[in-house]
């Protein structure tokens, strides 16, 4: 009889769907966790046998490759504009000497 759908019904349903999608990410995370965590365990096992301590994510300079074991924590080691990985370095920009060259 009442074929008119109330706006509150539709809009709260949309919200419920969005909430379900957000909760689905939790389910997805749980489902993928096992397979992905296996890969992580393999990575960790490799790290253990090779006695690694850092991610190979930042390979731009020597000291960013192994932050935990850096030989010296200072900027300008490999590139004049390379950022130090320490907090304070983020505030001070490197000298722009290369721009002054002819």
């Amino acid at each position: 009889m009442n074929k008119h759908l109330r706006l509150s019904t539709t809009s709260l349903s949309v919200l419920a769907v969005a909430l379900a999608a957000a909760l689905a990410t939790l389910v997805d995370a749980a489902l993928r966790f096992d397979s992905e965590a296996l890969a992580r365990r393999n990575r960790a096992a490799l790290a253990e046998t090779l006695q690694l301590s850092d991610l190979s994510l930042f390979t731009e300079a020597r000291y960013t490759r192994h932050p935990a074991l850096a030989d010296l924590h200072s900027a300008f080691q490999d590139h004049p504009a390379a950022l130090d990985h320490f907090p304070s370095a983020a505030w001070m920009p490197p000298t722009r000497w290369h721009e002054k060259q002819p």
Binding site: A68, L72, S74, P87
Partner: protein, 332 residues
């Protein structure tokens, strides 16, 4: 250690809460000074309209405070890895002398805000706004509480120093400091359980009585406040050890972790709600003297007492279930 997303969020929030309560108090002050219900003047109308702003602000502050209390504890737990010897939230909170005071101030603020909002709700039911003066005087008390809580939290976070490797380090943190473990001072199991069930039983009895005779809320409120402390002490002393099945592990925060099935939420939620309602039932009932609230105030008190009673039953059930399901036995 202020450059941390969650810490920044918490600090930002507490600054916003201070600003919000300050605005509310400033408006509250004008209302307190100039309120004159007999006048039909435009000014009185302006003041009436300000009451809406103040209650909206306070509601937002309350809900933000609830969320921020939770985030504060969660964050303390996550930060534990950064402090030598800290195993969980207790260690993080102990890493600076302002940790626990900040937490206690946040909890106190939560209860104060609930009391204010309940008084406000009662007042809005009387056609002549009988409680305006009381309400806004109470609001002025809330301001220092919010400021204090924000200040303690800031002192805590700014005092935190993560034990990190820096370029000079041959320094070993491991030997420099004593471990701040998860040990808290605690009662022996028997007195703690007596305190727990005795306290819960007393408040349950009182809230049922209050439901029948609202005037008893005057007794319920202080008892509920004391029992809240007692329940927390017994949770630390004995209930938590049942959850972890380890007589040495006394952390009230680890209960919130997934490893323990989030049982802490089932325990703390009714405890906080029940205590908040039981404590605010008294000021609300106190206002039955206003002619326009003679009916509404006792009715509100009764419904609050009823919900509080249900909450205490829930706390008792959860505690009993924890103890029954535990692999730990103190008594055979």
């Amino acid at each position: 250690m202020l450059f941390h997303p969650t810490i920044m969020a918490l600090l930002l929030w507490s600054a916003a809460a201070v600003a919000g309560v300050a605005v509310a108090a400033a408006y509250g002050w004008t209302i307190l000074m100039e309120w004159n219900p007999a006048s039909g003047s435009a000014r009185q109308l302006v003041l009436e309209r300000r009451t809406y702003l103040v209650s909206t602000l306070m509601a937002v502050v309350l809900w933000g405070e609830v969320l921020s209390l939770w985030l504060f504890v969660y964050n303390a737990d996550a930060m534990a890895v950064m402090f030598v010897g800290a195993m969980c939230a207790v260690g993080s909170l102990n890493a600076d002398p302002y940790g626990f005071p900040a937490l206690i101030a946040k909890i106190a603020l939560f209860f104060l805000a609930v009391v204010w909002l309940q008084v406000n709700r009662a007042d809005n039911q009387g056609w002549d706004y009988p409680l305006v003066r009381v309400k806004y005087a109470l609001l002025l008390i809330l301001v220092p509480a919010v400021v204090l809580s924000a200040g303690l939290q800031y002192a805590y976070f700014s005092g935190l120093r993560a034990d990190v490797l820096t370029s000079c380090c041959s320094k070993l943190f491991e030997v420099d400091r004593e471990g701040v473990g998860a040990d808290m001072s605690s009662l022996a199991p028997m007195p703690a359980l007596v305190l727990l069930y005795g306290g819960l039983g007393l408040t349950l009895l009182l809230s049922v009585w209050t439901w029948r005779r609202p005037v008893l809320s005057a007794a319920l409120a202080p008892v509920a406040a004391a029992v809240f402390v007692a329940v927390m002490v017994s949770v630390v002393s004995v209930v938590s050890t049942y959850v972890y099945a380890q007589p040495q592990h006394h952390c009230p925060f680890c209960l919130l972790k997934p490893e323990y099935g989030y049982v802490g939420y089932a325990l703390y939620l009714p405890l906080f709600v029940g205590t908040a309602l039981a404590v605010s039932s008294w000021p609300v009932h106190h206002f039955r003297r206003a002619a326009s609230l003679a009916q509404a105030a006792p009715a509100m008190t009764r419904s609050m007492a009823w919900v509080a009673a249900a909450c205490y039953v829930a706390v008792a059930v959860v505690c009993t279930w924890i103890i029954a399901a535990s692999e730990l036995y103190y008594f055979r």
